[in-house]
């Protein structure tokens, strides 16, 4: 290829020196190569996102019948603890009483449970400060206390004291029947 025609006086490819034509070839080649690189880069990045089977396990069902009033279970959901608490009437009363107290992340107790299901409190069990797992029945509000940096949550899981900025998160969940919930 390269050893023929090089240096010949009548160059049949002289039109290749036309600048606009040459620019077009450069831009087209660079655009094709760039498109290919971007097209390949996305699969290599996206593979680190949650896989199909991980997403398939993203929602779970749970039977509440096992929890006595005043009882409390911690289950694992999406790799994190999930608190499910069957609240006593005293806890509910205490929570409603504080609805209009001075709070960092104001919320009524009613907004934190499903209508007519005030006894059932479902919370993501990670402190909104830096992700530690709070323990129940610690701190002066009768709710949760985070041992890492001393955040105190009340019986509705609302932040009352300490460094955490937000209330304990209420996940998306629904009652499938009177005693069964689906989380996620």
């Amino acid at each position: 290829m390269a050893d023929t025609a090089v240096g010949a006086t009548s160059d049949p490819h002289a039109s290749g020196d036309d600048p606009s034509r040459r620019d077009f070839i450069h831009i087209a080649a660079a655009a094709a190569a760039g498109g290919a690189v971007v097209g390949l880069a996305w699969p290599l990045i996206d593979q680190m996102n949650p896989a199909g089977d991980t997403l398939a396990l993203a929602s779970i069902e749970f039977d509440l019948g096992k929890i006595e009033p005043g009882g409390h279970v911690t289950i694992k959901w999406r790799g994190k603890p999930l608190f499910i608490r069957n609240r006593t009437p005293a806890e509910i009363t205490a929570a409603i009483k504080d609805d209009h107290a001075d709070m960092r992340d104001p919320a009524t107790d009613e907004s934190r449970h499903k209508p007519g299901k005030a006894e059932w409190l479902v919370l993501v069990g990670t402190c909104t400060h830096l992700g530690c797992v709070p323990t129940f029945n610690g701190g002066e509000y009768g709710g949760w206390f985070c041992p890492c940096h001393g955040s105190v949550y009340d019986t509705s899981g609302r932040i009352r004291k300490g460094p955490a900025p937000k209330n304990l998160e209420v996940p998306t969940y629904a009652f499938l029947s009177d005693t069964k919930i689906k989380v996620g």
């Binding site: 050893d3 199909g52 089977d53």
Partner: protein
């Protein structure tokens, strides 16, 4: 060809860096301005293709290692999970598995280009040996990689190949046990194969750097096989060969993509979709296509130890080829007789591959054996065909190549790369040929 530098730092920062770490100078001298023979054909583009394939294998391999579980109970399922559940896992896994085949395809073209154009001859013997080391490392890496999906062929292939080491007298069995980390191919074996399979590509990349270094000392060989005499014989690597390599890479990637997207399992064995079972061996154990010729050489020899030695020698012979070849003419363009023998050698390699893919006792012609048993095998069987082809394989290197150089009559070899152009009656005056790279 190397040793001089045309780099001149333009900015203050470049001058500052150049006197501390002359990396821009190095890049410009080796990848931009490097004087390259102007007559390289498309067979010379496979070096670039191979560098790209190594890169693809490393990148996709790192991704697969994020999802793969090297444990006998989970390995098979984790590979299936990569294919089904991981985002684009199917693409990445198929790119990696077919990438290995494409890597070997390219390396075989690269090796045969060497054989045809005599690139292994002085002063490029070290360059050639480094290439042989890369090829050997590739075989080891590919073998260990094939074990990882833990299918039936993965497992029993690993059993067969590791048992070869047991053929070594005295220490064989204890070396095999050491390699296994147990009394059979099992969890410890899988774990260490995974570890080494991850390590080896980086070792290969290191040897590739030496390979390119050894290339840049004498410079490229070329289709005429004659030395570069002057600057007139060369063009700068960029843009001439970056563009030529780029075009060849694009065409090669199209073929690679055809496998990945339309026939991802065409080069694999269906039995590897069955999870490894140490209690049941598949009917017919075969390696991947790129190792079939060596497998055929192994089976051609009726003695276990001698079979292993023959297989090792088949690869080992390549290392001493520069000293087996007595011909001073590099390119087979001017060696018509040698060309013929190399053609037969190429066919012998294909026949060995065909033999390796078939059960040894199967008749080659028709459906019935001849009934003539010689050296423990029927004359009409793949064992005998592989014996003949193996014999030619070794004869080509140890007998034909040394004798050819002594007895053949080569065609007249041109004085230099530019000669035929200059002597061509239609060519322009000699002065106008200078510096073709200055055009446009």
């Amino acid at each position: 060809m190397s040793g001089h530098s045309t780099y001149e730092p333009k900015t203050g920062l470049e001058r500052w860096l150049d006197s501390r770490l002359p990396i821009i100078r190095f890049a410009k001298d080796t990848a931009i301005d490097f004087p390259t023979p102007k007559n390289l054909n498309y067979w010379w583009t496979f070096g670039g293709i191979l560098a790209l394939m190594l890169g693809i294998q490393i990148v996709t391999g790192i991704v697969l290692a994020m999802h793969y579980v090297p444990h006998v109970d989970y390995a098979f399922n984790s590979v299936e999970r990569i294919r089904r559940d991981v985002n684009y896992g199917w693409l990445i896994q198929f790119m990696h598995a077919n990438g290995a085949s494409m890597f070997f395809l390219a390396v075989y073209v690269h090796i045969f280009r060497n054989l045809y154009y005599g690139s292994y001859k002085a002063p490029r013997e070290v360059l050639w040996i480094l290439g042989c080391i890369i090829y050997l490392l590739m075989i080891i890496t590919a073998f260990m990689g094939y074990v990882l999906p833990w299918g039936q062929m993965s497992f029993h292939g690993a059993v067969v190949i590791t048992n070869l080491i047991g053929a070594i007298p005295v220490v064989g069995p204890s070396v095999t046990t050491w390699l296994w980390g147990g009394f059979a191919v099992d969890d410890p074996t899988l774990n260490r194969f995974f570890s080494l399979h991850y390590l080896m590509p980086f070792v290969i990349a290191g040897v590739v750097i030496l390979h390119i270094w050894a290339l840049h000392v004498p410079g490229n060989n070329n289709p005429k096989g004659v030395d570069v005499k002057s600057a007139e014989d060369t063009v700068p690597f960029h843009p001439y060969y970056t563009v030529k390599d780029g075009f060849a890479i694009s065409v090669f990637l199209l073929m690679y993509a055809a496998f990945v997207f339309y026939m991802p399992d065409a080069l694999g064995d269906a039995i590897n979709y069955v999870k490894a079972n140490p209690l049941v061996t598949p009917q017919h154990i075969v390696p991947e296509w790129y190792l079939l010729p060596f497998y055929a050489i192994l089976r051609a020899v009726p003695n276990k130890l001698m079979g292993v030695i023959a297989m090792g020698l088949a690869i080992g012979t390549l290392f001493v080829l520069p000293w087996l070849d007595t011909s001073k003419v590099r390119s087979m363009r001017y060696r018509p007789t040698a060309r013929l023998w190399l053609g037969i050698f190429f066919i012998a390699c294909l026949i060995l591959g065909w033999c390796g893919a078939n059960p040894p006792d199967e008749p080659v012609i028709g459906h019935a054996p001849s009934g003539l048993i010689f050296l423990d095998a029927d004359i009409n069987s793949f064992v005998w065909l592989s014996r003949i082809a193996s014999l030619y394989y070794f004869a080509y290197f140890w007998l034909i190549t040394p004798l050819l150089g002594l007895f053949e009559t080569p065609l007249p070899v041109p004085e230099g790369i530019s000669e035929p152009v200059l002597s061509h009656p239609a060519a322009a005056p000699a002065g106008s040929v200078a510096a073709p790279e200055k055009r446009g």
